[in-house]
Amino acid sequence: MGRWQEIEHTADLALHLWAADLPDLFATAAQGMLALFVEVDDKQLETRTLTLTALDVETLLIDWLNELLYFVEVQGIAFTMFEFTELTPTVLTATLRGGPVRAYSGYVKAATFHDLAVLATPAGYETEIVFDT
């Protein structure tokens, strides 16, 4: 099970992530990002499917997070549970489950590529992501 830790940033928000494998990394990144600024009502779950393609794993990860931010802003839904039917460094197909945003405790405009590198480690994967707020 992956974990995240918020790291200091003067103006924006940033997370350090540790995960066992790619699905774990993508799920942990999403859950960590949403925990920064939304509270979810998990009594009215909604489901969506999503497919993304990208040129590398970093781009796929940022696309994924920005896609989830889009759902929050435009539809008011935060997806926090994921089933990945395909996840390679360049393709993602997932079923998303989540609920309406109950309250906002902040704001995240976008996930950025700043100094981004997804590192393979003996324990799985590790990375840091800076979010524009």
């Binding site: 924006d12 435009v74 902040g106 405009k109 100094d115």
Partner: protein, 483 residues
């Protein structure tokens, strides 16, 4: 990691990192500020980020940081860089996600003493008329055609619909319409995000503030701007909302393989860039300019509804409740401008990320009313402190591509600010100072507390000392709506 000792002091307010420090730097990096500002710049990674900017192709003169510099993503906030039109690049990360985030100031003829009894009603009315918060709907709902008009024509659209006065356009940077903007370069999803949000403040550090002029440094110039001692003014700080975020995100994504295709070396993936005169470069410039037009219009619509609130609350209470526009400046943008570089007159694309244009007197882009005094520069402080009105100078034109600071600049992370005090306490402290606050998020209020920011006086004294702008007036807040 770059250190203070790697920099050379050029004068009291300028510090330079020579290009020789790192073989990848194409020009030196410079930070403007007094010794305190310079010291503070090494508390986060802003100087490394500035050094990265100095490595980008086609950069001319220097990669520059204004005294409100702090760590951002890609460029540092407070960063200014210009790239040659013919062989330089354009970088969405040099503008940021909130394209044309900026500030508008409106001036009244009302003495604060006359308004104070109605302040609570006024701020409540503005809060009703000007929506704020994450997502949500704006004050004006646009059709698809109207949104395209906004993207192409900016505040001219607002004027045609009765949301603006002709003078407002004169007193807006680029007259509220960036040439070359194309609605067609903005994709469907960005439009989907932007359509419902026109006329909304958003969240984060955005605000709408009622202030009082508490010091005038140059009476004649202040008078030309409609500013007098003890009179009430309004500041609106916001940007292009979800539309701008989407445009930036999409182009950063599109450009991820541009460095490989164009053989551009970049030190950070957030700094992806394309040659200015490439298909991707031109497309981004057209889309970014359209998003900038959206932001100008957004602040214009908010100004319209602030005027409505003044009428609703103050009509009959004072003789003249009308608000005139002082100016509207952008502080996140890339613009095509002509500048003198050495002995050459050069067409460049100036990136200002958390930096404000500060053109001098007699610049042809200035409206008649400001032609002889220079471009007004609006520098908002933090919620509990002063904001400044400055004017641009010849020194700024000669040294910094006509640029200066944009605000106080953060000095403390959001988490560190939250550890200092809770939102309730911040609100109580501000109330004790005579500042009324309305906010949808007390946590957000705590994150934006005054102590999380640099002392705006030091920032403004630094740009003023360096000659990058001249002080005109200072205003202090009496009521704040936090987005």
């Amino acid at each position: 990691m770059v250190q203070k000792s790697d920099f050379e002091q050029i004068n009291d307010y300028v510090w330079e990192l020579p290009a020789a420090y790192d073989g990848r730097m194409r020009v030196p990096a410079r930070i403007y500020g007094n010794e305190e500002v310079f010291e503070a710049a090494f508390r986060d990674s802003s100087m490394t980020q500035l050094m990265n900017v100095a490595m980008l192709p086609g950069i001319v003169k220097y990669a520059m940081a204004m005294p409100d510099v702090h760590q951002g993503y890609g460029f540092p906030i407070g960063g200014v860089a210009a790239f040659r039109w013919d062989e330089g690049i354009i970088s969405p990360g040099g503008v940021g996600y909130d394209i044309n985030c900026g500030v508008r100031m409106l001036a009244s003829q009302i003495d604060y003493a006359a308004l104070e009894p109605y302040l609570k009603d006024l701020i409540a009315s503005i809060d009703r008329n000007c929506p704020s918060g994450v997502g949500g709907k704006g004050a004006v709902q646009l059709s698809d055609k109207e949104l395209d008009d906004v993207l192409d024509r900016g505040t001219e659209w607002a004027l045609s619909k009765g949301y603006a006065q002709r003078d407002d356009l004169e007193r807006t940077e680029s007259r509220g319409r960036i040439a070359g903007a194309q609605a067609g370069a903005v994709d469907a999803r960005a439009k989907e995000r932007g359509r419902p949000q026109m006329g909304s403040l958003g969240a984060g550090n955005h605000f709408l503030e009622i202030d009082v002029v508490d010091e005038v440094y140059d009476v004649e110039v202040a008078d030309a701007m409609g500013l007098s001692q003890d009179r009430v003014v309004v500041q609106i700080h916001c940007g292009s909302r979800g539309l701008g975020h989407e445009v930036c995100g999409q182009y950063i994504r599109v450009l991820q393989d541009a460095p490989r295709r164009y053989g551009i070396d970049i030190p950070d993936r957030e700094l992806v860039a394309a040659p200015v005169d490439s298909r991707e470069g031109r497309d981004y410039l057209a889309a970014m300019s359209a998003a900038a037009n959206y932001a100008f219009t957004n602040r214009q619509i908010l100004a319209h509804f602030v005027r409505r609130s003044f009428e609703q609350v103050m009509a009959g209470k004072v003789k003249n409740w009308h608000l005139t526009q002082v100016y509207d400046v952008t502080h996140n943008i890339a613009k095509i401008e002509e500048h003198q570089v050495g002995s050459q007159r050069m067409r460049v694309i100036v990136h200002r990320k958390g930096a404000t244009r500060a053109f001098p007197p007699r610049h042809p882009e200035l409206p008649t009313v400001y032609r002889e005094i220079g471009q007004p520069v609006l520098v908002p402080g933090s919620m509990g402190t002063a904001s400044y009105v400055l004017v641009g100078t010849e020194t700024a034109m000669a040294e910094t591509f006509g640029s200066t600071c944009h605000g106080a600049g953060r000095t403390m992370s959001r988490n560190a600010a939250l550890k200092q005090a809770r939102g309730e306490q911040v609100r109580a402290d501000l109330s004790q100072q005579g500042i009324m606050v309305r906010t949808g998020s007390l946590k957000g209020l705590a994150e934006e507390a005054p102590y999380a920011y640099k002392d705006v006086d030091i920032v403004v004294d630094s740009v003023s000392g360096a000659g990058l702008a001249r002080k005109v007036a200072r205003v202090r807040p009496v009521a704040v709506i936090k987005g």
